[in-house]
Amino acid sequence: MVKKDILKHKLVPDHVVLKKNQIVKVLKAMEVHPEQLPKIKLDDPVVKAIGAKEGDVIKITRNSQTAGKFVSYRLVLG
């Protein structure tokens, strides 16, 4: 079977690993501890594809029915 790039699939939203300073900014803006963010598994196919590591925060930008674009953050867990 040909291995497809799942990141190019239309149902897979945009995942970006945040840099350290960006994480601090996001957490501060939302007034949350990293553990209070929604989680994403380390063995999630997209996490594997973008090479995120445990403890990283991923910014996910999805198309939204109500708001057009919607941004959410997830903490990578093992």
Partner: protein
Amino acid sequence: MTGIIKKIAQINFGLLSPENIRNMSVTKIVTPDTYDEDGYPIEAGLMDPRLGVIDPGLRCRSCGSKGGDCQGHFGHINLARPIIHVGFADTIHKILRSTCSSCGKVLLTDSEKEFYMGKIEARIKNEESITDIIKDIYTLARRDDCPHCQQEAEIRKNAEFMIQNSEEILEEIGPDLDADTKKKIEDKVQKLVELEEKRVSSGEMDDMEPNADINAIKDATEELIKVVKDIKGQNDEVTKELQELVEPIYQEAKRAQQRTIQEDIKIDKPVSLVEGNYKLTPSEVREWLEKIPEDDYYLVGINPKIAKPEWMVLTVLPVPPVTVRPSITLETGERSEDDLTHKLVDILRINQRLKENMEAGAPQLIVEDLWELLQYHVTTYFDNEASGVPPARHRSGRPLKTLAQRLKGKEGRFRSNLSGKRVNFSARTVISPDPNISINEVGVPEMIATEVTVPVYVTEWNIEQMKKYIENGSKIHPGANYVIRPDERKIRVYDETKESILEKIEPGYVVERHLMDGDIVLFNRQPSLHRMSMMAHEVKVLPHKTFRLNLCVCPPYNADFDGDEMNMHVFQTEESRAEAKSLMRVQEHILSPRFGGPIIGGIHDHISGGYLLTRDGSVFKEEDVFQMAQKSQLPMPEPKNRDWTGKEIFSLLLPNELHMVYRAEICRKCDECLREECKNDAYVVIENGELKMGAIDEKAFGAFSGKILDSVVKEYGTDRARKFLDSATKLSISGIMKRGFTTSTADEEIPREARDRIEELLSNAEKKVEQLIEAYHNEELEALPGRSLRETLEMKIMQVLGEARDKSGEIAESYFGMDNHAVIMALTGARGSMLNLTQIAACVGQQSVRGGRIERGYRNRTLPHFQEGELGAKASGFVHSSYKSGLDPLEFFFHAMGGREGLVDTAIRTAQSGYMQRRLVNALQDLNVNEDGTVRDNRGVVIQTRYGEDGIDPAKSDFGKVADIDRLIEEMRIKAKADK
């Protein structure tokens, strides 16, 4: 109130050890009697005074506090023999099945044990459930041999002994044997030795089937004995000697090997545990459980810090305090004991007899019988509905309510005392309508107003008023029922106590005065499915016995007046009143968060009234207008000295700067809308608060779709909207009263000529159906893509008959005009639909079961009146008649079939959606929207970074959208035109 939110670290559920039970006990209970002849409780009896007091006059012998303050103290009964606790019989069964009967270890190999312990420890560390692991262990450990047992070592010892002896014997008697036999015996012994060596070297490897080598040894010994037996006749004495020596060793090995095979444990409900064919006594069960090493506790699902498995077999029984099982004294002076006390008496009596018999050395059979009986009593004491046990009964034949029955089910402690409780300051009665009160109000019967009260702090400013209430007492309406002194003593206001209360009352007292006009109360109708099911209303005390409510609040409560009852709760603190007034008032809930439009609004006659009032050509005399304005609580309008049009009257309600355009409910959805030139009066234009054109109907201020009402709430606020709605409904009712409004079956009358046309149309359609069927039988019908011939036929017939019904409806409709009251109701959205009317007047149409024409009934036909395989319209439930002309018996039967399916479906749907709602509510109840717009749970974990992704409150949205741009543009256009 401020509180500290703490996270519960853990909750442990454990077992009481016999030691625990004795420690918490204040006395040992031995006598089955309760009171002596003089009526005093017997010491060491079930009513021992040390178990606590109920009588407020007495002091507790154990804790010294007064009755009522003492919560009671446990006693204990030492059971003569151990008893299995019913609640744990299943657990005991599972544990016995997965542990070794001789060494008590879990029947897992060392590596399996290590593997599962690792898993369990990880789960415990992560605070996760281990139940599925334990379940796996229970399945895997259901082995019939023990991988650990010392029995193995015993066999090994025996085998070694046997080998040694055989060698010795051979040496001793060898010379007497012939070479051949000697060789044979030597071979066998050699094989034994080899096997034993192999076993010793590999014995520690647990991946090997533990009994394989032992079986081999057994086989080898057997062969050896056979050889020895064969020697018979050659040398009798030697053979005998040899046999005598080998035989017992062999027997020992065989027995030892048999013992390692674990018999299957079965449970005979509720508490009997059977090993093979032998019923284990509770003592044996307890001994077995005691053998389980502590290291193995986790593997069978027991936390060693909290419980030991043997505690599931009782040796001592806790006796609950008398406060848990109070006795009742009947009027006759007779004492009636609680069911639990009765059961404890039984237990004590049998326990006593068992002990005596044991001490007297009675036959085993008698002791066992008594033991059984004690087990029965203890079992039913815990659970009198345990399967497999006849329930213990009262003398009257009523089954006793024992411990489990107190907790279980709808009437149990959980569902009726903990999850749901009776509340004070609440009332419930039948509801009825009152069009004269505001939507914010609720009519409260005087009878209720004098019963439920509001606490008022007495101050120097209200003391005179409070004195008046006290003077009125509890019977005359604005009165008071109780006075609470600053020391929190509550005094009932009686005619006799009035005087002294009035003398003493001063600021600092609290008066519980009757409910009065203007008080805020919470009003509720079950099922409380959305937040509008509980709203705050202002009280209006009225005569008679029903709660009165404005008709506009029927939709949010889903109430009608066919006997519906509602509940009312009176707030008891200023905080709750303030909160309710700003968040829960009816006017704050005009817009529903479900669809962003009004859910509170005009219904039924409000709608038809609005239409009658405002339709083109409707004019009123000026004096009538003043009367209507007065009735609707509108400011007196400037006189015009001429007749008023209905539209001018309705404009009195509208805010001055309101601009609107919309298509009314009566709009016929013409292919091309003529807008301002609409012939149906359906294009509504409001300029500067004046209704320029269009009639008022459901789209104006009806519940679910009222556009004007929606605009008024969003532009002018809830207070203005409430006034608008109160006045609009009253004005509509005045309008309908001026014009007169009635309906009857005469409204569904159509002329003969129309009936003939419908008849012709239907018979043509039925003919067409016959033709289709004929074509089908002649196989001339062409199948539609993806359908079988039969399906094609079915679809075509449905289509033909559907069209026929619609056409017949259209014919009937063409004779219906806006002078017809039933039609007004249908088209304005007040009640009923055009379909209802045409079904009454023209043709009812196809009845369906399971989404298709009716096929069920007899074999290959619906009813015996038809031929087998008949497919015609009539034979499959097409109702040709109209409701008004009446259905023939066959039609009636098919109609009943369809109707029944509808009923069943709704019943099932409500049950399903109710459970789904419950699960959703439980999952979402602790979520809230923070000030920063994030949705979080009670631990602060982010569920959504922005509520609904767009942060819009649906109740404040424009029918679900942030804003309706088209509408805004059209309104601006109107405004510009008006300003010109």
